[in-house]
Symmetry: C2
Subunit: 159 residues, 2 copies
DNA sequence: ATTGAAATGTTTTTAAA
DNA sequence: TTTAAAAACATTTCAAT
């Protein structure tokens, strides 16, 4: 990706604006960064094509759709051979309740962010699906009591 | 919020589409859910005004903007009085490297998701800023080796 | 290589049926 | 809910920097 590697001040401004308001019109965006609409559009398209902007998404409030519980679940696998790891990754991707999953350094292999309607839903997810999987070893769940800082995009050098 | 509480099949379809492609045009969206553009627009606006759709954001690839390292940092506070907790929350919101922070049940009070350019950047963030704070007790960092499942929105009952 | 202005076609939006 | 008109917008082309 040639052009996407050189992000100037205006590119960073565009990213900052679009991280905050992903549906800004090109006209409005152009005005905010003091560019003509055509120049602005070409820059945004370059960012999209270059993969700097990976996509756009509506942010849905979990509470409003009946997902009142968020948990972080740390999981250690008993076996670390390629097949076991691939199997686990496949399951994680199949489980709708898992909204994000990372392989981590440290004492626990995986960190899963899980959403559920309530404790009963979470419980049956954990017992009937996660723990039912062969290869899943130590499991540790923590529930979100309060969101101190909600994901609002990445820090950008100089907006 | 009266109207936002009753989400029918079509509302859920709209949310599903907009979670995947937040910049879909109203015309395209209407076609996908088999609605006239005006009916579709009114539904989307109701979801926005009711807070079901909290906003729209461009998703930026951290690697492409020089943020090669993501870490999860678990932090326990020494003091749990209201002032200490509020102070900590304030700091967390000031620290650009912290992209998300939750107060959790369990043995560690807070879980922070942190992005940094590299290990040196992360190290100075942790040593000079987090650990420099009075009141911060036990700290445990794990680094993301691989993203097994990337955040792609919430599960919705029946798309 | 990147910009701004003009021209074109599309979409959103309003208002009325 | 649909339709039709108006306004706003996205997008392409092209000349200029």
């Amino acid at each position: 990706m040639p052009a996407a590697d050189t992000l100037d001040r205006i590119d960073l401004q565009l990213l900052a604006e679009l991280q905050r308001q992903g549906r800004l019109s090109n006209a409005e965006l152009a005005e905010r960064v003091h560019l003509s609409p055509s120049a602005c559009l070409r820059r945004v398209q370059r960012l999209e094509r270059g993969g700097v902007i990976a996509g756009y998404r509506a942010e849905v409030d979990p509470e409003r759709i009946g997902l009142g519980l968020t948990a972080f679940v740390r999981i250690r696998l008993n076996h670390h051979d390629a097949a076991a790891v691939a199997d686990f990754a496949g399951s994680v991707n199949d489980w709708d309740e898992v909204v994000a999953c990372h392989a981590l350094t440290g004492d626990m292999d995986y960190l899963l962010q899980v959403v559920a309607a309530d404790l009963e839903h979470f419980s049956s997810f954990l017992l009937d699906r996660v723990l039912a999987r062969p290869g899943v070893g130590d499991v540790n769940s923590s529930f979100v009591l309060r969101t101190v800082k909600a994901m609002r995009g990445l820090p950008l050098p100089a907006g």
